[in-house]
């Protein structure tokens, strides 16, 4: 009994050690990457964080509530255009970032409810088709809202968007902090990291709550959930709204980071990519979704940079254009993963079992029940 009593304690301090190491790694990452691989890879890390945020937002809708949303990128677009219109020379507006970013989240949340309301009765494939249509509607609107009144500047997109800045401190330029030169991409990395941690925190809290359980109940069996007293209309709308808010927030960050946006960035392929991150990583599991996001951003980039040299080395010349090879291998990877691990690389049920081992209370209960049974 004494050994068992000690076991959770050690596990806990191990967990903290892991977290500590992770924090150091995440903090040092941009500098390490910059030194080893070049600044371009820091930029890729920034994008990875943005996509993780998006994937976690979509995970609420698809992973928790089980509502297949193929137009998620529309909320990303709403957030991005909100930022672009309110802080760029387009209208000559330069609103402070702490107003524009939350506003983008709120606006996307509103659009989430707007999309959610008419789709409440739809399930599965039908829902996917309607959401896909919604995503396209937003993109086409953005593409065409340059006449008769020029709002979005049409397919040319909006240029010279203000970098994210607050009280004179702009993330768009290199700063000297404690005598170290911290370039713009590094600063954005830290900002995105903070937002990603926030999104993870919110996801975690919601997952293990009354609301999270209601979402999962709807995913598992909507009729039974309704019969158990869950107001499926409100709970589904809440899922759409929460997911959209995260999408809008990351959209604003994207616009500020990129400095330029056009409707092209918000096509169907983006929605599919984000969905792939969720599905490949493991629907409903935060760790899995993060893994999916990192892999799907890093692997294509690695391939883009690596495929040419490898072919040179193997065949002496470039046989296949790395760009087309990328989509080929991407499709292949998807098929392989779905064949070998249909529930994703890191499925949520597995994680639950891992969790249950570390949960002292449950372990005790389990021992109790085993003891009762053997009596």
């Amino acid at each position: 009994m004494t050994t068992l009593g000690k076991f959770p304690y050690c596990k806990k301090c191990n967990t903290w050690r892991v977290y500590g190491m992770l924090a150091v790694v995440l903090f040092a990452l941009p500098f390490g990457t910059d030194a080893l691989l070049g600044r371009g890879w820091v930029r890729i890390a920034d994008f990875a964080l943005l996509y993780i945020m998006l994937a976690l937002g979509l995970n609420i809708v698809v992973g928790y509530a089980g509502l297949l949303d193929l137009g998620y990128v529309a909320f990303f677009a709403v957030g991005a255009y909100n930022y672009a219109l309110l802080s760029s020379p387009q209208f000559g507006l330069h609103w402070p970032v702490w107003v524009v970013l939350p506003l983008g989240g709120l606006l996307a949340c509103f659009f989430g409810v707007l999309l959610g309301a008419p789709t409440l009765r739809l399930r599965g494939d039908y829902l996917a088709i309607v959401t896909l249509g919604f995503g396209e509607i937003i993109r086409i609107f953005l593409n065409n809202l340059n006449a008769p009144i020029n709002i979005t500047n049409g397919p040319q997109g909006i240029n010279m968007i203000d970098p994210i800045q607050s009280s004179g401190f702009s993330l768009g330029i290199t700063h000297q902090i404690f005598g170290i030169n911290v370039p713009s991409v590094h600063l954005y990395y830290y900002l995105f990291l903070c937002f990603t941690l926030l999104v993870i925190f919110v996801s975690l809290r919601l997952e293990n709550s009354r609301i999270g359980r209601a979402w999962m109940a709807i995913r598992e069996d909507e009729v039974a959930a309704e019969a158990m007293g869950i107001n499926t209309r409100n709970i589904k709308l809440l899922a759409f709204a929460m997911g959209a808010t995260f999408g809008g927030l990351s959209g604003g960050l994207f616009a500020g980071f990129q400095g330029f946006i056009s409707p092209e960035s918000f096509g169907l392929m983006e929605s599919v990519m984000i969905l792939c991150m969720v599905v490949l990583g493991g629907m409903g599991n935060i760790g899995g979704v993060i893994l999916g996001g990192v892999l799907l951003v890093l692997l294509p980039e690695a391939l883009r940079n690596g495929a040419g040299p490898v072919q040179q080395w193997l065949f002496g010349k470039t046989l296949v254009d790395p760009e087309s090879l990328r989509m080929l291998l991407f499709g292949l990877a998807l098929i392989v993963v779905m064949l070998v691990r249909p529930a994703g690389l890191w499925p949520s049920t597995q994680r639950r079992r891992e969790l249950s081992d570390s949960d002292e209370d449950v372990v005790k209960q389990e021992q109790g029940s085993v003891y009762d049974a053997s009596k």
Partner: protein, 270 residues
């Protein structure tokens, strides 16, 4: 008016049709508080349709439906769950990929209040509520006799356990009326026996039970009153022994001529 004397559930002239098919016509039932009320009838007689109307999954076309003194017509299932009607399903509808404990915790949803804000901040109220939900769920798991680690996924439970977990989930909503749709279907004799004692315990705790069942022995042993449906109409109602001898009931189950057979044999056929 003392609420204890009026019937818990009153259905008057209930009608429900799907296109040209009349699934229920002019069905009137009165279920008293604290009784176990059986609903029997051949396959396709409309028993489950009646259940679906009572629990709000279908909307009734004719008639009135009063529960606990309040009229409910065209209400959503969650409103009726809030009012105190909980049900199980003929083909088990558990949340398969959630743990046994979580299934019951979902049942607590309707009696708890934590929203987004409480979930995010985990303030004292939210933490207390969560603890109470979890404790109550563990209690219910023991109550229905599922002796398994709580994290076992619902789909990994045995068939009999799944049936009982569904009852536990329904009980978690603190119902006044528990509607069970063929709870003993597919169970062996031992499992049926333990189900019987569970239902008796539930009744003793003051919950009214409405039961669809094909197992005549179970109906005879448990029910205070029984109604028989055939082709969407109520053809008999009363004490189980009496209903079993009713010629109309025998005819419904075994065809016209069988009504002349001795009643006890006809009853055993089912």
């Amino acid at each position: 008016m003392t609420p204890q004397n009026n019937p818990l559930l009153e259905l008057n002239g209930l009608g429900k049709h799907f296109g040209g098919l009349a699934a229920l016509t002019e069905v009137s039932l009165h279920i008293k508080r604290g009784e176990i009320y059986g609903l029997i009838g051949p396959n396709g007689a409309g028993k489950t349709t009646l259940f679906n109307v009572v629990t709000g999954l279908y909307q009734l076309d004719h008639g009135t439906f009063t529960f606990d003194g309040v009229a409910y017509a065209h209400c959503k299932p969650h409103v009726l769950a809030q009012a105190g009607i909980a049900r199980t399903f003929q083909n088990i509808r558990l949340f398969a990929n959630m743990s046994a404990l979580e299934n019951i915790m979902v049942g607590r949803h309707v009696r708890t209040h934590t929203g987004i804000w409480g979930a995010l901040t985990r303030n004292t109220a939210a933490r207390t509520e969560e603890r109470v939900i979890s404790l109550r769920a563990r209690e219910l798991l023991r109550y229905v006799g599922i002796d398994r680690p709580h994290q076992t996924l619902a789909k990994h439970l045995s068939y009999g356990e799944q049936r009982r977990l569904e009852i536990a989930r329904a009980l978690a909503t603190e119902p006044k009326l528990l509607a069970l749709d063929e709870p003993a279907a597919g169970m062996n004799a031992t499992e049926t026996e333990s189900l019987k004692s569970l239902l008796q315990t539930i009744r003793a705790s003051g919950i009214t039970v409405m039961l669809i069942e094909h197992d005549v022995k179970l109906i005879l042993a448990l029910c205070d009153r029984v109604a028989v449906l055939d082709y969407g109409k109520k053809i008999a109602e009363g004490v189980p022994e009496e209903v079993r001898r009713n010629p109309a009931v025998i005819a419904a189950y075994l065809g016209g001529e069988a009504a002349n057979l001795p009643a006890s044999e006809a009853g055993k056929e089912e």
